[in-house]
Amino acid sequence: MNGPMEGDLDSVEQDSTLHYRVTETKQFLDRLLPADIRIVTAILQFMKDENLYDSQTQRWSGFPVPTHQENGFEKMKSNDSSLYGPFCAIAEAIRGFAETRARLSISEMGTTKWIKYHSKSPRSTNSQLRPGALFTLQAIAEHMGLNVSQVRKWF
């Protein structure tokens, strides 16, 4: 099983119909995930310097290029796993730069980490969810003995 538990399927169905809203993309990002344009520019420049973003092709390096079949939206057995590695590598590079040099996102929630998670499930009693990747708090991920109360909640 690579999705929600049986009992949650109805709720998920409701989420995707009754409790589902969309809003203007720019407004959504500006309000919920605001970012200083100077930091964004600095991150992009760092990515270019590190050859993680290819200015020639204007694509992220290592990211799979759509094939003809995929461009044509033809049904095919896709290999989603080819996305996990490049995505996490790029996301981790951005996170590392933002947390170590920009120093803006580290104060509230502590150090974080992007991890591939497609073959594992978060610890639980009976759930077996396997999202492609997770953005997690690094502190607990790497020091399981840390008291939960020591981690400042931000959500």
Binding site: E24, N71, S78, A133
Partner: protein, 130 residues
Amino acid sequence: MRRGGQEEAGEEDEDEEQVEGPMDEKDTLVHTFAFILLNQLISLLQLQRIWWLQVVAAVEMNRTGSQDRLDVVKQLKQLFGYLRQILHRQLDRRFIFGLTLGLDMMTVWLHDRSGVIGTKTAIDIHKVGE
């Protein structure tokens, strides 16, 4: 004969002690090595165990990049399932972010206790300035 025998026995004991010494060291080395390996294994297992508390955002990836409505809805439902489970498992959590990602496009979602809200249009992740 008895004395000689005792002497011989004593020599055998000494020999055994000399032999036992290196074997102990070897055993100790093996035990130490096994202990280190076990500790590393435990550390790896601990790293793999993720608490719901740790999750900041979940990503659902789909390589096909299909814009077909049914495929998009299927991918969204998959993501909503993850987000709902995270909220379900952690009762004091108020919200969780989620992303759907294809080869070029990405959408961002916020799931809270009242429902889901997301970006109306997908974002081209390769386009500078997006």
